[in-house]
Symmetry: C2
Subunit: 368 residues, 2 copies
């Protein structure tokens, strides 16, 4: 399945707080075909460090397909012979320097000054991400979505969609997420961004496009990478092997373990296409997440969609007790809710990498 | 109970790797009196960011007593009317700038140069910490300890004691720890130290004593503070309150939540008495922890001491599955092992702050 990025534009967008973003542009992609009455559309919202590339490949020789390719495609659980599946890059997308990503955020050139917005870009929220997607849905002439689905921050968007526009979808599938951001996650999100703020090259957000705070950004991505995984997988993968077999960690302060070198390499690769200010804006959007006016689970009693809530009991970002409380809050409002645990060794990242065994369950949920 | 710091000195100490540390000095304190046959001594080993101040107060008006004061004292579970309880500051103690702490490490003046050792100080290990304590025990004329106990890194020292000197103690009580450091914890420990290495003021460890990398050290201590706690407590304490009631976080990138401000304040206070290089050396000592020659749980089959292993099921530093596997490894060697869960909202820090309900259990264990 070869896919191409499309672009959706809004001449002006009113963000939370009232500020106007001009010439808003986001990328989006789709798999399958919209049917005649436009009733077969499934919107996929992406995770914190993800993009709209949920499935397929941009070119035949791409090493990796989109992140949920195991679920989405012809004959798969989310069957593109049957459904029109689409996804959009969020505002302030982390991977702003990936040529395949189209987003608007602090790294975008401000049409009024000819320079990147930097911190003059307004803080945006998950509700803003959803409002942009809503404009895209309207533009496509879709009046009701077959489903809204997504993992992690994609799950937050799914919940915000369902609470804000309860008549707009028949089903939702939030994955490895929760209906409120608690103090503990607020604090962790803040610490993910802290190394960027501590990097002198950050310059309070006013760095030149070719001189971003790469060290701070890389350290931030190390923290995110480790926290999104789980010890069970990390141990099995690396054990106590040394980064350099001839340089025992006990012999010198600078000698590292293989797991440290591996996380450094992953983070450096991720940093090469990411933007530091975008990461800080994403932290802010997640910290301030609210599915509705109260920012608490009570907002979810507004949901009307049939719900399949998937969680991981080893999740160290959205803990399982929070996921179960979220499912209960939706059920309290009267919507039919099913939950299922994602089995796997990856902790939070089970929502990305351990979804295959749930394929039949998801296919069944979507067809009922 | 008013206590005073004593000093123990070794003219030279041979560290792991063979390097010699001259004029080694560490602080220690004690509660209760050593009996005539020197058979009533309980050694307490301290945690990563702790000191030998396990109980009592240095002065009547001290706000806080030692960290296990709820357990240790006259008539308490670890009854100082009955036992001689003592504890020593480790090598490379984090709180090197606390006037009440005596330690030897990279912040110490190298007698050969007249300047702080910096990174010329040899990497030291948990086994070295234990070897220094062993020298103190010998110096006190104690041939067998009634018990060795301690939380977290103090638990690692307890396990290393019991595996290295199986005939030297009747009992051990390792708390919130495990018998091996896995890849996941190696990686987290490395990330705790990473903000110091990223701070330009670190200067590869060669900073002047009055110009240490305070920003990096403070960020490191934010990470450690958050990871040693648990969402349950953090949420209950802070919720989604703003740092400044009039400055909603959604309004500006710089507006923070109360939990972020609180962790920043705690970390800044801790940083004011800590040394950045010492933190890096502690990271190294913990990453390279080995209770015996293999660095795995098999080393613990050497333990002969009666064991009470206390763990927290919400521990995010030493996971409960690792704690249980450690207890099982000791039992496999034939030593009698009991385990008990510490109930509390603090995660890893249950081993410090939620110990009171276990007092009777501990008193009973020590008297049998």
């Amino acid at each position: 399945m070869i896919v191409a990025k499309k672009i959706f534009e809004l001449p002006e967008f009113h963000a939370t707080g009232g500020r106007v973003i001009k010439n808003l542009r986001i990328g989006w992609e789709c798999y399958g075909r919209l049917n005649a009455d436009r009733s077969n559309a499934i919107l996929v919202a992406h995770y914190f460090s993800g993009t709209s590339h949920a499935a397929g490949r941009y070119a035949k020789d791409d090493v990796y397909p989109g992140y949920w390719d195991v679920l989405i495609g012809p004959g798969k659980a989310i069957d593109t012979d049957r459904y029109f599946v689409f996804s959009a890059d969020t505002l302030v997308n982390l991977n702003a320097r990936d040529p395949r990503v189209v987003t608007t955020g602090p790294a975008t050139i401000d049409p009024d000054t000819g320079r990147p917005y930097g911190l003059s870009f307004p803080p945006v929220t998950i509700a803003d991400f959803v409002a942009v997607q809503k404009a895209l849905v309207d533009h496509l002439g879709i009046r009701k979505l077959h489903a809204v689905i997504g993992p992690s921050m994609g799950g937050l968007q799914t919940l915000a969609w369902a609470a804000a526009y309860p008549g707009m979808m028949d089903r939702i599938m939030p994955v490895v997420c929760a209906g409120e951001i608690d103090a503990w996650l607020i604090a962790w999100l803040g610490l993910w961004g802290a190394p960027i703020r501590a990097d002198p090259a950050w310059k309070n957000g006013a760095y030149a496009i070719d001189a971003q705070p790469a060290a701070g950004l890389t350290l931030a991505l190390k923290l995110i990478t480790l926290q999104a995984n789980h010890g069970q997988w990390v141990d099995a993968q690396f054990g106590r092997a040394f980064a350099d077999e001839g340089a025992a960690p006990v012999d010198a302060l600078g000698n590292a373990y293989k797991v440290e070198a591996a996380i450094a390499a992953i983070a450096a690769e991720r940093a090469s296409i990411a933007d530091a200010n975008h990461l800080l804006y994403l932290v802010k959007a997640n910290q301030t997440f609210a599915a509705g006016p109260t920012g608490t689970l009570a907002d979810l009693e507004n949901v009307r969609a049939k719900t399949l809530f998937l969680y991981s009991s080893t999740d160290q970002v959205f803990r399982a007790d929070k996921a179960r409380a979220t499912a209960a809050a939706i059920a309290k409002g009267g919507a039919p809710v099913e939950t299922a645990e994602i089995q796997g060794p990856f902790g939070h990242a089970n929502g990305l990498f351990a979804m295959a065994p749930l394929g039949d369950r998801i296919a069944d949920f979507l067809s009922r």
